[in-house]
Symmetry: C3
Subunit: 431 residues, 3 copies
């Protein structure tokens, strides 16, 4: 399919040039002198940096043909996304008339935000082309910032907590995008896993597992408590993953996919509460529940939910990140209510009700924003590709109509638009 | 051998469930609120965590068929062991009426303790099944705690130092276990190394090498001194390993196995003294001696000692960890005596003698406890497997007697028990 | 070619023994008690340690047959070089009557100095034998110390800055050595890259990329500013590398070699200025320029410069490290002048001129010292090998003259010396 590749090969460098130029111009006007602060953050920042670049790269990308392209392209997305995230955060704060300093903390936030993008990428793996992935990255970062801004401003969630909604946002945004994405042509089936890719995937999983305590503790104040709770939750969910995998598989073997997804469930579940849980057993129970819900979810979703909605969740981000994040959200509301209730001796039930309302509201807002903006994004991606393709096709030649029609049939689910475009296409091609 | 695998496939998840439930229940009653302390420990803790999970995983496990099973199972052992170690340490301190707080330091101790288990695992590699490995992990952690408790209470060794006996305890415990372990059936020869596994092994070795200074300095007060001494000793022993390898091999080539074991000798030798050595040259000399003793030991042990005692030390833990740890123990006694002697101007020789007695006593106690408890463990493992197998066999069918007898012949060195059990087995099978 | 290998197999262990003994003897007399200081340096030190041992190992060594030998030998060079660097620095300071303490900072400096050696090694990859590499390591460390000493003493550059000349020194020293090195025999072509080595090379590149902020910030005071500037420059140069690679290749594909070299350009360019740049956009522009100059350089040098000078720069260290370092040097002079000028309101132009003179002088001195000492080193290496070979040949037998002549023809570019030596060789061989 040379035309298809030709498209993005021509457009990709120019898109990169455009974005990089915008970042440079903005940084010239916008960024102040960086402060030499937060040296204690540096080891944790490096851990998260490793985790996003190497860990998620291996963890999610192994289904593709494992080679230069996947490692390299994941890296490109991250270095571009971090810059865009810095610029956008600065610009949107500028609109809100807040002061913003570029320092290690804002860089750490940018890297953490990229996790949402990496998770979403896992859902559309093997279906989106590089240009679409870059556009999706930009739009997701903008929408994620807006969702965080709503949470901080209207629902009065404390400053750094909304950033921990990355898993929730990333998973549901990715699901929304993949739900409307055109199927890849059957010949290009890159979604088969091989024994070698399984091994790399296991390595990536353990890599992410090891760095997760740093991820959960990076932006909190009581970071060692967060580390301890996260480590215990991760340990329990790892044991539970092996246990449940052996129990639910027919021949008693451990199954790669179960462990791959459930090992991390404890860490995802504790994203919101790692710094505030007072008793290690709560963290451990949450880790266990996270693992259970992931493995049950992987069975239910793949058999009932995904076929019904015609979802193709390539890397299983829904049950790997989405469900444990929802569980974590519920748990954080319950823990918050119980703690406040005990402190007030259950005297002021109406204020408790308000707390519950606000907390649940924040999570529902994140999920619904993710779903809606995901649908918007996928529409723009497809239409954008369409318009772009149309321009390319016109400029390349008039004689390739058959190929064009074939490409359109593969790409467009919407018959009306297709017919309209084909008519439009035939119009300039008239002799 | 389906019956053999059937055994642990049925029992493994339930064993995991049991242990995890016990940990959860204990954590509910036992663990206090975690403190948000020791943030300066975190980078070192992460290093040791990496080293145990990735480094030792590659370093010791490569002889197995390199794939999902080895990486994954090593990981399972560690996450389970760390939890059990936390629980046990808390429980045994509770018996001793001491206060114990779950914080980053206790987690670090739990991870360091797991090193003993990982080393012992290296000795029984390819012979023990997963259930046996898990039971061995638990028993070794208990016995190691008891050995440390004896050292701290009766021999008045300072608090964190006995933890550094991990290498000594792990190596001799593993040797004792492997000495009485039944041979693996000849068809299941997993102990061959391949060029690819050699490469991974080299990578694992360098990985462990890089993190060793963190390991030796994690729990000491003068940690930068420990880092510096360990780094120099490791560097000297690495150079010596290459040098001796080229000298002792016939064709002048570097030999993988020599380097694999001798590169780390400097770090193991300095386990007890890294924080207290005053002159870098002492650390460097110890690194050199460690390397020499390891390579000489690998020649002597594999030719004379192991065949005589019918030992099968799969990964060579005796000369990789055991001998340098003994050297380090001797060196620490000598250095302690010389230092105290110089400080006292050799006036009070009787107190010096007492020092020597206590120091040597601590090391001898560790080695003898390791050997004795190792023998106890292997007896329980074999008998336990036997009883377990017997139950399974009875419950599965009466018609598989021939297979059973064969399995028993492979498993039991003790003819009396075998005959007795076969009789017992035939008893319910009577028509 | 058995004789050739025989040579270094006989000599390598004894050379290692000699060097290690010298280090041990010196450490006995020279090294004071290590201080327990600079604990805040430790995470950064570990990062740089990883980067040099693993990152550069993969990054530069992949062209060789990827296996035990390359990983292992790189490791041996580093552990030996770090010790020699510590000893030499101490000895040369001793000559200068300065006080020197062995602590974490001096260890960090030794590891950073080894970067120069690793880069130079990349240039002579596949041509030099192990003994030559070890001798080259020692000489390069001595010459690099002398170059730094000249910079600090006569050109009054601040203390830790000259260490950042590693890239400049390493690249040009390596170029000078490789320019006069005899060609490898055509049969031993180890310089082909395979898809697998490309993948490892990409991994090594990303690994080095991730650790580069630690490298640039390790020895500066305002380390977080250095981290932030370096991260941004690296991100821009990574995006630019992908962009330029797609633009300059014919089929629009990303090309491995471009990305491999240009991704790191931002970090190299900022070596001298990362801690002092006040505005992030300057760092970003420098990262972009570094990437552009590297990719343009790789086209120009490989087509025009290298064939003209008959250079064989195996790993492309000239455009990967040399050119961006030159750009960084120019940028640091310009930034220094502009800053001082603005501060003085351009009133005192003569002192500005003096600044420019001293700054440019420091960089020119480094480059010229690197080139001259590189030529000296390669002469000693070849002559030394010759003399050594001659001794070995004499001592082994008189009957292998034909083989000897053949070996000489491959080794010696200089006909006069060859004839002289062959005469010398025939003299004792006379019947």
């Amino acid at each position: 399919m040379p035309a298809r590749y030709l498209n993005f090969r021509c457009s990709l460098p120019w898109l990169l040039l455009l974005l990089q130029t915008l970042c440079l111009i903005y940084s010239f006007f916008g960024f102040p002198e960086p402060g030499d602060v937060y040296p204690h953050l540096y080891p944790g920042f490096q851990d998260v940096n490793h985790m996003v670049i190497f860990g998620f790269g291996f963890f999610l990308m192994v289904l593709r043909r494992c080679g230069f392209s996947s490692t390299g392209f994941n890296f490109l997305l991250i270095v571009l996304g971090v810059q865009c995230s810095l610029v956008m955060e600065d610009f949107l704060r500028f609109l809100g008339l807040q002061y913003y300093e570029v320092d290690l903390k804002s860089l750490a936030k940018a890297v953490v935000s990229m996790t949402a993008v990496v998770i979403s990428t896992g859902a559309v793996l093997g279906k989106a082309n590089p240009v679409q992935l870059i556009v999706m990255t930009l739009m997701e970062l903008i929408f994620f910032y807006i969702s965080r801004w709503i949470n901080t401003t209207f629902l009065q969630v404390t400053e750094d907590l909304p950033l921990m909604h990355v898993h929730l946002f990333g998973a549901y945004f990715g699901l929304a995008v993949t739900s409307r994405f055109p199927e890849p042509p059957p010949g290009l089936d890159k979604s088969r896993s091989t024994p070698k890719s399984d091994l790399f995937s296991m390595l990536g999983t353990v890599f992410v597992w090891v760095f997760w305590p740093s991820f959960n503790s990076l932006l909190t104040d009581s970071s060692m408590k967060a580390v301890l709770n996260t480590y215990l939750a991760l340990a329990v969910s790892a044991v539970a993953a092996f246990m449940l995998s052996a129990l639910t598989s027919k021949d008693g073997k451990f199954r790669m996919t179960h462990i791959h997804s459930a090992v991390l469930a404890g860490g995802v579940t504790l994203s919101y509460t790692a710094h505030s849980i007072r008793h290690p057993w709560i963290a451990m129970i949450l880790g266990l529940l996270g693992s259970v819900i992931t493995i049950l979810g992987s069975h239910c979703l793949q058999r009932c939910f995904n076929p019904a909605l015609k979802l193709q969740d390539t890397s299983g981000v829904h049950f790997t990140f989405g469900l444990p994040a929802v569980l974590g959200a519920v748990a954080s509301v319950v823990l918050h209510v119980v703690e406040t209730g005990i402190a007030q001796q259950w005297s002021d039930l109406s204020s408790l009700g308000y707390f519950v309302f606000v907390d649940i509201g924040a999570f529902c807002q994140t999920i619904s924003t993710a779903l809606i903006t995901g649908l918007i994004t996928v529409t723009i991606l497809c239409q954008g590709t369409l318009v772009f393709k149309w321009i390319v096709i016109l400029s390349v030649s008039y004689s390739q109509k058959q190929l064009t029609e074939k490409t359109f049939q593969q790409c467009l689910p919407n018959k009306g638009v297709k017919t309209w475009l084909l008519l439009l296409l035939q119009h300039p091609g008239e002799p």
